[in-house]
Symmetry: C2
Subunit: 348 residues, 2 copies
């Protein structure tokens, strides 16, 4: 088992607080930055990549995090540790699949994380629980400002920040909001949301970002374009559309409770009953059942269970977390058994 200490309950973004947190799980600002004096990824030579990583790491750890921060070199991590960090949204699959010296620095609350030598030299992210996009943007600006003083970022007065992939040139920003939309899924109205969102140049992704399937009825809405638009207009675009999706989901929830309370309660409590009783359960089923329970808690149908606990279970039941907890590699069947046992303990 790798060097990471098993880290408690997951980041601040799972706390289930902040605005509209019954529907908005979290929101995230990501900024892509590159060092002016080094070749961009992946053209950079191994030695230069190591030098760039060391430079960014020393500045980040020195100026950004105090004794509560840690830096992890992906190169030192085994598969389970890597999975574990992906599940916590601290690193991306791309960082894992990359080559050469690369890693991540993050603080204890896991609100701020800096990936080094992913697609770009520097990928700064700030995640908050709830619909707190302005707060996340404020924090991202503050952190970016600190790093700007320490590092010489590649910036063009014509194009803005320069990035490895042209789609990120300009602001280098992706703003995203993770929405929990079980009622829209249940009533098969979620497709309408996708269609509306794609018309205004926003992307919809699953819980684990680009190329992942929606799971647990979580949908991540984010901007597609970074070039030729200001950060403010990206944020405005998302802040205009997200409240409408929230309202749509909320209306359908209310309708379900008014018109189909028994069916809804049945679905919610069956899910809760299975979670508290199953002896073997896979990730996919767990996510779907937790989604129903989360809806139940947020609709006042389930009492005595905090939404924070449900939020955390979405992450703590993932394969990497289960194996970190057990301190050994588990085959899929062992994982399904360990997962069921863990859930029973938590929901007892």
């Amino acid at each position: 088992m790798g060097p990471i200490e098993f880290g408690g309950q997951g980041g601040q973004w799972l706390r289930g607080d902040g605005a509209d947190s019954d529907i908005v799980m979290s929101c995230r600002i990501r900024l892509a930055r590159n060092l002016r004096n080094y070749p961009f990824m992946p053209q950079i030579e191994a030695d230069a990549a190591k030098e760039a990583a060391d430079l960014v790491k020393s500045k980040v750890m020195g100026s950004l995090f105090n004794e509560d921060g840690q830096y992890l070199s992906v190169n030192d991590l085994d598969d389970i540790d890597r999975m574990y960090l992906i599940e916590r949204h601290l690193i991306s699959r791309e960082l894992v699949n990359g080559e050469g010296e690369r890693g991540v620095a993050f603080g204890e609350s896991e609100i701020t994380a800096v990936m080094i030598n992913e697609e770009d030299h520097v990928r700064l992210q700030v995640i908050f629980s709830g619909m707190e996009l302005d707060r996340a943007w404020g924090e991202a600006q503050r952190v970016d400002g600190i790093l700007e003083k320490e590092l010489n970022f590649a910036f063009s007065s014509q194009f803005g920040y320069l990035t490895a992939c042209p789609t990120n040139v300009g602001t280098g920003m992706r703003a995203s909001v993770m929405l929990h939309l079980p009622a829209l899924v249940m009533t098969k109205q979620i497709e309408k949301v996708f269609q509306a969102v794609s018309k205004i140049n926003l992307a919809v992704r699953g819980l684990y970002g680009e190329g992942t399937q929606a799971s647990g009825d979580f949908y991540q809405i984010s901007n597609q374009v970074t070039l030729g638009v200001s950060e403010a207009s990206i944020l405005d675009n998302i802040k205009r559309v997200v409240p409408r999706i929230i309202q749509y989901e909320r209306n359908v929830r209310e309708h379900l409770i008014t018109e189909n309370r028994n069916s809804l309660e049945d679905k919610v409590y069956r899910a809760y009953g299975i979670l508290r009783n199953a002896r073997i359960i896979d990730t996919e089923e767990t996510m779907n059942l937790l989604s129903a329970v989360r809806l139940g808690v947020n609709s006042g149908l389930v009492e005595g269970l905090e939404v924070e606990e449900v939020n955390r279970l979405f992450v703590l039941t993932q394969p990497g977390h289960l194996q970190k907890r057990e301190r050994r590699t588990l085959d899929p069947e062992e994982r399904d058994i360990a997962r069921a046992k863990f859930i029973r303990t938590r929901l007892a």
Copy 2:
């Protein structure tokens, strides 16, 4: 709502005791008898049928049951009361669907019941919990002896007892054993049992007798032939085959527990969890889930729940019982909600 008082928890046969009661729910002896001096059903005129019914009723109530017995005329009952009696195995669908004066007399324990003017003038049944065929046969003989003294039964020295349908001529006896065979169903070996049983002239039926589907993994094994065989040879035939089916089911249960304990526990506890949490549940799903829980209790996987309670729930959750309990007619959706609530209360 009809005249029947809601009668507690169902008959002695649900007690979950007697030999091999982990697998044998109950066993039953039925004797078909007819009055020599009246035309057989259904050729009998309405007046004569009434006279015959009154005669049998008075003798049965006078000689067989004391103050703990009751006679119910099917003609006086509404649909829900009729359903209720079918669910308790006190009357048959044929009795309900018949014409003219007809009814049933039974004692408080519901071990002995006499249907009047079903297919035959007299249908005597004795049911006991567990594999207690000799006990049931002994009791049936005793009761038959009492009735023989009071009533003049049609009997031919050549053919034996005469009955309305030729298939019952001779002994007029059907001996049956209700087996709970969840492990054989789960492992898809139940077909082998059917094939073996049909080769030796035994019939396999569902929980509610002729023409009903197997439900809750219950299978009723009974003799096909009554003519030209003695009561003893009918019983011997069943007593030879049933222990082999019991052993087969038991072996598969042990194998499941040894080799697939986690899967089995998972199935059992999911069923238990759904039963304790569902808000809407139909009869079929209830039977299937109770079957898994019954297997769990009998295999020592579920503690703190008596098999008797599970047995009784199979009957108490049926539509007639639910509506008797609620004292009103319920539409199917209301029943499914009332059923779920009732089960939650019982299994809380």
